[in-house]
Each structure stands twice: as structure tokens, then as C-alpha cells.
């Protein structure tokens, strides 16, 4: 009976340990910036979701297109209605794996991970490789990454009248203040 109890406790601990290997956040800050002749375009969304499975190296990040906040109403309207068509394609999703020589992954000190996977946005799925910087200090892990997205890769067409005023490549940055067990 006593042995059975110890076995149950060990099993529970193992389950808890396995669960703790999934880290993530619902509060990833995703920002994009486009430098253009007439005016720079800058928008952010602080409610990106991100999950990392340290056992398998699988990573999934998603953001709602309608959640991006712009300073100007017209930019927001064009972004949603004309460029990203957010009614039709409400999310942008990256699914991939950490390219790592050994698993499980460990969160310690300063690290750089390379993520290889696919980005799905505006109805187009494209293979991408993204570099991510992580820093773990006192049990807290912060994440930062910046990568370019070419509008043409995702069939985002810009009307010719404003073509010179919108950059064809947009810098996207992701920052996470704290990855937590999920």
C-alpha cells in the first residue's frame, strides 16, 4: 500500500514536470515598422500568444490581425480592409521547431535560438527561419526577435498610387517579458 502511494506521488511529480516543459505567454508584444517616404507606419499588438515545448522544441506563435493598434484611423482601416483583409484572414500564425542539437531545451543565461517553420498570413503559408534571443535571469525568461517580412511573399498588394509611400519590406519585432509554464 505504502509502495503504491509512493508510486502515485512519483507519477504525479513526473506529470507535473512534463507539464512544466510547456512555456508560453498570452502577452507577446508584436510590433511592425515600415519606413516610407511620406510617413513611417508603426503598429503594435500586445496580445500575441506563444507556446514553446521544451521537450520537443516545437514553437507556435499567433496574433490576431484586428488587434493591431495604429496611431491613425485610416492606416488601421487600410491595413485591415485592403492589405491584410482581416475579415477573411483573421490570424497570423508561425509554427515551427527550435533548431537545436539536443533536447529537451534548457532555458539558461543568454541564448540564441533559430526557429525553422512556416508563417501563415493572408492565406499564404511560407517557410521561414527566425532568430530569437533569450535571456534567463532569476528564473525569468525574456524573449526578443526582429525579422523582415516582404509584402509580396504574402500576396499583400499595395495600390500603385501609394506604392512609393509604403515599404515593400516590413520589420516585425516580438518581445516577451516573461515566459511562464503553461
Amino acid at each position: 500500500m505504502k509502495g503504491c502511494n509512493i508510486l502515485t506521488i512519483l507519477l504525479l511529480l513526473q506529470v507535473q514536470c512534463a507539464m512544466a516543459q510547456r512555456m508560453g505567454t498570452r502577452e507577446a508584444n508584436i510590433r511592425f515598422f515600415s519606413k516610407a517616404a511620406l510617413e513611417n507606419i508603426d503598429a503594435y499588438n500586445t496580445r500575441g500568444a506563444c507556446l514553446v515545448d521544451l521537450n520537443t522544441g516545437a514553437v507556435e506563435t499567433a496574433v490576431l490581425i484586428k488587434g493591431f493598434v495604429f496611431k491613425k484611423a485610416m492606416m488601421q482601416q487600410h491595413f485591415n480592409e485592403s492589405y491584410l483583409e482581416s475579415d477573411k484572414y483573421p490570424k497570423a500564425v508561425f509554427k515551427g521547431k527550435v533548431v537545436a542539437p539536443t533536447l529537451p531545451l534548457k532555458l539558461e543565461g543568454q541564448q540564441e535560438w533559430t526557429l525553422a517553420g512556416t508563417m501563415e498570413m493572408h492565406g499564404v503559408t511560407k517557410e521561414m527561419s527566425i532568430k530569437v534571443q533569450l535571456e534567463t535571469k532569476d528564473g525569468n525568461t525574456t524573449v526578443a526577435s526582429t525579422f523582415p517580412i516582404a509584402l509580396k511573399d504574402f500576396n499583400i498588394s499595395v495600390p500603385s498610387i501609394v506604392k512609393n509611400n509604403i515599404a515593400q519590406v516590413v520589420d516585425v519585432s516580438i518581445s516577451i517579458i516573461s515566459l511562464k509554464p503553461m
Binding site: E27, T46, G48, L64, V69, P90
Partner: protein, 145 residues
């Protein structure tokens, strides 16, 4: 006389073009309208919104995403996001329902308003869809009940 009339028309045309450019510039520079401008598209409790997304996420997204909702419910938690905007989560009526999480405008909660866990409140928000939670943003506090 003819020259004078032509000059007058040119002046009117130039004036119209200038006004057009100024109107276009004003429209381009305009900040997004407050959710308080005009009527809300829907008036719901947080449980009703959660149930709608739980029952059929696609249908609920089509119906509510991008719409102004007057949302009432009991506060489960309050925090701040990466740009220091207040974030309010509503209590779930049932554990299997998604959370409703609302990012408020930085000035969306008046200074004198103290919102605590368990308070029943109404806010006006724009629903942006569902990821892990049902997400809303541009929230403005309406009242405590």
C-alpha cells in the same frame, strides 16, 4: 472681362484643390475614433460572449470581430500589458469557456475609478477575435454595477 472671369475660375479651382488636400490630410491624420462615439453594435455579458465563441468560433468571429461591444461582467483579474495599458479579464461562468480579456485605452479608466477583483463592471470594447482567450481592445470604462 473674359480674362477676369478666367482668372476668377482659376482662383476658385485652386481654392477647391487646396481644401481637398487639407481635408485629405486631416482624414489621414485622424486618430481612431473612440468606442464611445456612437452606439455600441452589441450589448452583452462576458458569459454571453464567451458562450458564443465556445459554441462556434467562426460564426462568433464573423459576428463580433471588429464590432463595438458594451460588455458587462465580473472582474477576474487586472494587470498591465507591455505598453502599460490596463488589461481586464472577466470571470468565466463555466471553466470550459474561454476567458474574455480586454486591453483598455491608457485613459480608458478614470483616475478616480478603483476596479477590484469581483467587481461587476461594464466597459465598451472592440472585439478582435479569439486566440487562447477572446480578445478585445480599445476598452473604455462605463460603470460599476
Amino acid at each position: 472681362m473674359k480674362k477676369h472671369t478666367r482668372g476668377k475660375w482659376r482662383g476658385i479651382l485652386a481654392g477647391c484643390i487646396l481644401i481637398g488636400v487639407l481635408v485629405a490630410w486631416y482624414m489621414f491624420q485622424k486618430a481612431p475614433a473612440s468606442v464611445l462615439d456612437g452606439k455600441a453594435d452589441y450589448s452583452l455579458t462576458s458569459a454571453q460572449l464567451a458562450e458564443a465563441f465556445y459554441a462556434d468560433e467562426t460564426a462568433a468571429s464573423t459576428k463580433y470581430s471588429g464590432k463595438v461591444i458594451e460588455l458587462c461582467g465580473r472582474v477576474a483579474a487586472m494587470s498591465r500589458d507591455a505598453v502599460q495599458s490596463p488589461v481586464i479579464s472577466f470571470q468565466q461562468a463555466r471553466s470550459e469557456l474561454p476567458l474574455i480579456t480586454c486591453v483598455m485605452e491608457k485613459t480608458g479608466i478614470p483616475d478616480a475609478t478603483i476596479i477590484q477583483q469581483q467587481d461587476s463592471i461594464c466597459i465598451r470594447v472592440v472585439c478582435t477575435g479569439k486566440l487562447m482567450d477572446v480578445e478585445c481592445n480599445r476598452g473604455v470604462f462605463i460603470k460599476k454595477m
